[in-house]
Amino acid sequence: MQLFLSLVKYEFLKLLKRRMVCVTLAVSAAVMVLGVTFGGRLGRVYVEGELITTQADLDLELAMNSKRLSGRVLDETMTEELREAYRQAGEESQGEIVYLAEPYRKYIWPLEPFVRWVRRVGLDVPIEDLNEETLYAKRLERMEENWSDSLLSEGEKEYLRGQNEKLETPFTYEYCFGYEHICDMMNTTAFVLVMILTVCLPGIFTGEHSRRTDQLILVTAKGKDVLYRAKILVGVLFSLLAALVQTACTVIPSFVLYGCSGFSAKLQVIAPESVWSMTMGEALMIFTGLLFVMALLWGIVTMVLSECLKKGTAVMAVLFGFIVFSMLLNVPDEYRIAAQIWDATPLQLISYWGVFTNRLFPLLGHYFTSWQAVPVVYLLLSALAARAGKRRYTGFQVSGR
């Protein structure tokens, strides 16, 4: 065991002594912190050509409004207030109510969190017809529409309806900007994380071939099985460490900006059409857990690919090509199975629409959600990939030199 840990230590040293690894980690952490802190908060806000405020101030105002309204029930009282606010703004504007223009900012802006929630439900009736009944009816209608568009089976729809019935309506609005911001950033966090792993991990295996130390290590007693396990472990630990750093770079600035209240806010506050009975804190933990599992899979696949291709540049090219492909390709919903598989790939999965998708995984008469099924698949794939890589590594033949 001591020998194994010793090898792990040396492999870690070899990895961290590469300047590129430290630079990549540092730069990506800095970029992530800056992006989370300033992303969407730079710039100025103009209405009809006139400078109103800055994006940062607007964001702050919205957060303060949200805190003030926290704890309010999204019921008839709320809709009545909204109707009254629109009526007053309409009288003052004497015509079209322009977003962020003076009447809007005076009457409607203080209730902006409610307005945004109603927009998320997708209610498109005139404001006079807005009430609790139509609002929640519209929510159900939108849910059923989405399920049909996603080509869900009757069994899945029944299951989701059952989940929906467990929810208590009307919902209570709670301030959870920090959690919402983190969930919005998760896809970007995943993107930066896979970039880090793509750049840093290939060298664990390709370095031995490019430096021609493979001949020295493969002839030693522990140079095959034991060293392979040590290298894989180092890659896995590095992947998880990178995931932790990136998560911290997303979570900490978000909490510093918006505070950490809202752990117990229901998921429906940011996603009204969601049927899952969970809080924002639980959703964040699911996201984080999935990010770690994704990092594990990506790390192992990167290492195995690097042992197969033997060249770091080739590995990076293949993986980066996949990343770009992931960003550009969208499988239409009508190809249900293909779309579901594609949505389970790493960069598609770590996003709100990927994790909390309505599509379920049926198995032996039960339905499993994405966040339940996909980690298991990822872990299995990781184990299989590691095994395949071991055969490749131990079977390597030194020739052509």
Binding site: M20, G40, L42, T188, V199, G203, S210, M316, A317
Partner: protein
């Protein structure tokens, strides 16, 4: 005539010429054909690897395809790919250093400096032509001005150039290829990152800042290029 040639042939067969003496020193006195600088440069063009040119054509293809399919987002697709063109150009320019040929080239008539300058000239001309086509084509389909388009394309290109030159200078071995690819991926990722998360930085009021960054990167590229050449010679 036939008899004459037969006699000559017979004499050649019968007569055994003496062994040459001091052949090498005699041959050295004869004037040798030398290639011109232009011929040297043209010859260097043949040694530039095909994939470097293929990448440039791929970029062009991506720009035109993107213009048809992606319209406004073509700018970001191409600016995400340009770091790889920059990496290819830098690693090609300094291939001698990276693969250990530097010492041989430094000792030859057309020295390492000439080789590098020739390659820089050829690849530079190629990439300038690429930009001359890309910028107006992409500008046509995007919502940005010509100046903005040029800046948003050149900044990732030059950032990668500076990074790769620095890496080549510091590492200067085969590891430099790996590190340069990593740098290109990081810059490419940064481009997508800015597009996704900091789109407000692309507003017109920040254009002067971008131009400033571009100027700094251009100066740094020149400086790093000179340093690499000076270090090797």
């Amino acid at each position: 005539m036939k008899e004459k040639s037969e006699v000559i042939h017979a004499l050649k067969q019968a007569f055994e010429p003496p062994e040459p003496e001091r052949k090498r020193s005699f041959l050295r006195t004869l004037p040798r054909g030398r290639i011109s600088s232009f011929s040297f440069m043209a010859a260097q063009a043949g040694y530039i690897r095909k994939w470097v040119w293929a990448l440039s054509f791929l970029l062009l293809g991506a720009a035109f395809a993107g213009a048809v399919c992606m319209k406004k987002e073509t700018l970001w697709l191409v600016s995400g790919m340009l770091p790889f063109a920059a990496m290819a150009a830098v690693t090609e320019n300094f291939r001698s250093l990276i693969y250990g040929m530097g010492e041989l080239e430094m000792a030859s008539r057309f020295s390492f400096r000439s080789v590098v300058l020739a390659r820089m000239g050829i690849l530079g001309a190629g990439h300038i032509s690429l930009f001359v086509i890309l910028i107006p084509v992409i500008c046509f389909f995007s919502t940005y001005t010509l100046l903005q388009t040029g800046v948003y394309l050149l900044v990732p290109y030059l950032l990668t150039t500076v990074s790769c030159l620095w890496i080549t200078r510091k590492i200067g071995s085969r590891d430099a290829m790996y590190a340069c690819t990593g740098a290109a991926i990081c810059v490419s990722g940064l481009t997508f990152f800015i597009r996704m998360m900091m789109a407000s930085l692309l507003q017109i009021q920040y254009l002067s800042g971008w131009i400033g960054v571009l100027a700094i990167l251009a100066a740094l590229s020149l400086r790093e290029g000179k340093k690499v050449i000076r270090q090797a010679v």
